[in-house]
Symmetry: T
Subunit: 68 residues, 12 copies
């Protein structure tokens, strides 16, 4: 992967699973950031209400090549 890359940190959310939360973050961010190449998970959290998990939250770092 020659070249220089930038990394952005994102939090995605999903009522279903951690994997869906990652997909949501990548899909939303790809509207403004082009050519994202990889991600890594930084943190997994969530919201609880009425004794049940309401939302999975995943913080990821996503890398993309700096285009000139």
């Amino acid at each position: 992967m020659p070249g220089t890359y930038k990394i952005v940190e994102l939090v995605g959310t999903s009522p279903v699973s951690f994997a869906e939360a990652v997909k949501a973050a990548v899909a939303e961010a790809s509207k403004t950031v082009r050519h994202m190449d990889w991600f890594e998970v930084v943190e997994e959290r969530g919201r609880i209400a009425n004794g049940a998990v309401q939302e999975f939250q995943v913080t990821i770092k996503a890398g993309f090549k700096i285009e000139r």
Copy 2:
């Protein structure tokens, strides 16, 4: 979130996925702990038998408001 919160550490298990293991821990703990608000994942492990994953185990910290 004004007020003071307490954090409990739990391990949930599921034969299906990490997300299901989190849900199981929250559901079981909510029988005795009221008003849990959020969780964060501390560790993800599992048990293997006969060359296949038998169980996903997720350690979480769950926070709830101290009621007076």
Copy 3:
């Protein structure tokens, strides 16, 4: 668990979820490593293409008893 155990580090991949990536790594490794007992997740990453997650990658450590 009396006895001595060895730990191997593996990366499994799946287009679907982190749990499936763990299962894939365990299934593949079990062809040559016998009696794996447990795993723990070390890292969760993935590959992105065309603005969508293409692959979930999970690095695990898996332990098995040293047989004599």
Copy 4:
């Protein structure tokens, strides 16, 4: 410090500072936990609204001797 100690994890909040958030958590918890001896800071976070910090949140671990 001979004897056995238990550690509880708490989150205190304050609109003023991290030190005040610690004090609030200790004061509130001391209503039900006796003889707390020490604390250590685990995490410092906060809430932002309208471009200004609204609340400092400090997660601490507090230790107290198990009484028989």
Copy 5:
């Protein structure tokens, strides 16, 4: 907190305290970043001169919702 969030990393400085350094970073960043929701402290450092603390420096991560 449904939706997708972005996290920016900032360093605030203050001659007075860590809490003031956080406030300064949030106030300055809010001129260009709208709707910051939360922060977490990453690192606390400072500058010393003539045998006294001259400046408190706090590195924070601040999260805000991606608006469409």
Copy 6:
């Protein structure tokens, strides 16, 4: 290990060794917590006086099944 587990954090002390400090914490805690299953060491510290170690202190997390 199907089911849900809770984790408590304890500090044991011993004038002899780290292993004895762990044993002391487990023995004391087992008077009120039933069915502890495993522990992991979080921190090892100690007290010094007159140029010699007076006390070994071990912080552990101990897990036990939530009984209904």
Copy 7:
């Protein structure tokens, strides 16, 4: 260093060494980010092919003053 700073995360690459990979990331990023002041290394990785290192990859965080 009075004022507020922003931190960006970059990955530089070089066939020669980690130091050259850092220099490449800083040189490329300086085309769009002005007044970078310092960096810290977050991660060092690389690519291997045909039994030899093909590329050194260094992830850095670089800080620069927010200008008004």
Copy 8:
């Protein structure tokens, strides 16, 4: 900052706040260590008595240039 620096680790204490504890450590150490340049916070702890925080304790690393 050309040259070589040495780092010393200190614990400062204050009944008031973490910032005051840092100031106390730097002021005391500057009586024997000249030309300290910067510090970073390693750990924040404290002592509790009678259900209230009695003392804030901050462990810092402080750097100073080696003079010839």
Copy 9:
């Protein structure tokens, strides 16, 4: 220590102490791995039954020179 070394990860167990668990892992592994040179402790855990520690478990990394 010129040359290239490989590191293996092992878990040793002992009913007595952490030191004995390390010795057990090294003794067992040395039946198949020659010329181990050093170890470092990665994790210390254990098993509890009937309110007492049954087993100390120590995960170590052990290094040995690659022989040609």
Copy 10:
């Protein structure tokens, strides 16, 4: 990178630099491990003698595809 990968941990040494130590480890290991794809640096250490650095030591994790 579909498929399953294994990770080995290696220590390379060089009298010259950290980059050369990585190259040495990869070159030596490639004599028995085929198709290594990537590495990441785990630790950088070294040996000192007569007041000068004699050897740079780099611990890496290297990943390669499991071939069937």
Copy 11:
């Protein structure tokens, strides 16, 4: 513990156990450092020869009050 403390980092060694290695480091250091108060374990390593543990090595941080 009002006042300011300094922390020194030491490595003790013992052919017997980790606890003995800590005791050795404290006993040796107390010949030149007065009034050491506490220690914490930073790292546990050791040397292996002929397939057996030859030496336990423990790195500790030890704190003592700065006397005027």
Copy 12:
């Protein structure tokens, strides 16, 4: 390595590379500390000016035997 060792923390600087920065720290410190045996890298940072790396800074811990 029987005996007791002390560890000092140093920051070396170089305009050329991380390896040169380590060498500079060791060479400078060896003027007052005798018999340094090993080092480990704690942190790698640097200074940027005019869009280019001006200085590599490496924080190391260096160990030496306590002589009587």
